[in-house]
């Protein structure tokens, strides 16, 4: 009885982990969209936070600056902005799951824009 219960729990946990993994994989932007988001963060968020994201008129978005801030509140700031400051909401341009991905990647060190060939 007891053994069965534990086995059942294991199965449930496994299913949970699998679901989470699938969910994360789906949330991760792919291909063109990923390139677009990386460029948007570096260039357009970068117009206030700096292209290297170390801060400008807006605060730094480097991993050490974000380390102690809860992910959920960072996602909320991206989506809705911060009233009373210059930070606008970006929900017109990114989905909630994309904002989650941006926050996760900012915490690790945000990817660089792939080198463009400008024909020179």
């Amino acid at each position: 009885m007891k053994v069965d219960r534990i086995a059942l729990l294991h199965v449930a946990v496994l299913i949970g982990i699998t679901a989470l993994a699938v969910g994360t994989a789906r949330a991760e932007p792919q291909g063109e969209r990923r390139v677009e988001i990386i460029s948007m963060v570096r260039q357009d968020c970068g117009s206030c936070h700096g292209m290297t994201l170390k801060g400008g008129l807006g605060p730094s978005l480097l991993p050490e600056a974000l380390a102690h801030k809860p992910a959920a509140s960072l996602v909320a700031v991206i989506m809705n902005g911060r009233p009373g400051t210059a930070m606008p909401g970006w929900s017109r341009f990114v989905s909630e799951s994309e904002a989650e991905w941006i926050v996760a990647r900012l915490r690790q060190g945000f990817p660089h824009i792939a080198r463009q060939e400008s024909g020179q």
Binding site: S39, Q43, D44, G46, S47, C48, G50, M51, T52, K54, G55, G56, L57, G81, A86, P88, G89, W90, R92, F93, I113, Q116, S118, G119, Q120
Partner: protein
Amino acid sequence: MNLRHPFRALAAAAALALLAGCAHTPALRGTGDLGIVIERASGAVQVVDNTHRTSLGRVTGLGDLSHAHATYSRDARYAYVFGRDGGLTKVDLLTQTIAKRIIQAGNSIGGSISQDGSLVVAQNYTPGGIRAFDADTLEPVSEVPAEYAPGKFSKVVGLADLPGQKFAYALFDAGEIWVTDFSDPKHPTTQRYKAGKNPYDGLVTPDGRYYLAGLFGEDGIALLDLWHPEKGVRKILEGYGRGEQKLPVYKMPHLRGWALAGHYAFLPAVGHHEVLVIDTRTWTEAAHIPVKSQPVFVMARPDARQVWVNFAFPDNGWVQVIDVPTLQVIKTLQPGKAVLHMEFTPRGEEVWVSARDSNRVTVYDTATFAPRTVLPANAPSGIFFTDRASRIGF
């Protein structure tokens, strides 16, 4: 070659020597029609010629040039390029080399040069304040930390040179305008004025008399009459939004390209898709012109007959042209993806427009709006021509 005549042989030798010399010394030329185009992602600038619409070469190794700004030596030979990483680079336009480069701060957004050309002053976010350097050597001369309360430093925006070795600038975090006098370069003196909530940029009128700071935190513009600084800052155009819903601003507008046309001044509204027109005789609103999106740069053609406007993300692929006599938009252009800056030739027959994500600069005829030339550039942003060298506030 017939070398029987000694004279001819001599002439040939002289010509050869001259050719060889050319490889090392640039051809004799003026700098009045030169300028630079910032290639923001690669830390480089292109040196360009706006008479022949050509690129003369590229200077690399300027560091992080996102939000780079440039000002010119008064002989218009050297560009001082201020990089985001605090780099200050003196670029020789004639030899297309770096004459001198220093890292002067942690995070910088621009700078300006003194009336007599002797001091280059940088405005910094980190550490907040301004720093003055010898224009020849870039040796540090003095600095003014933007410490507005004990231990509290503000980011500095909107630095503009004024007559009398003075500089005006705004403190984003403190909501103040400061005017610093560098007449005694090593011992600058500073006057402080209350301005309003979150000044985001500033500019001075071409005669050097009025300093204006745009406010992000409120609908209004702070105006300081530098002939009568004792009167303090006057708030103009208060509540210009008139209760309209404020729209999100995805990029801070800039006030560098002061657009003064006759009695009118043209400024970007903040949070409203409009260009504000101010009557400078009364400093009241004369009109507001609906435009495509949030304006970033609002710049008058040098003859002030047209005003060109570019826009914030996501509408940064557009440029609109306002006709000054009718105060109407008369032309809408699409110069490319992510239009970041525009610069008129000194007398305004052409305008150069950079499109970052299209990797090109387009030169337009301002009379016909026809593109005349397209120059390739690597993620171009700011374009700065040398006629800025002789203008107050640039």
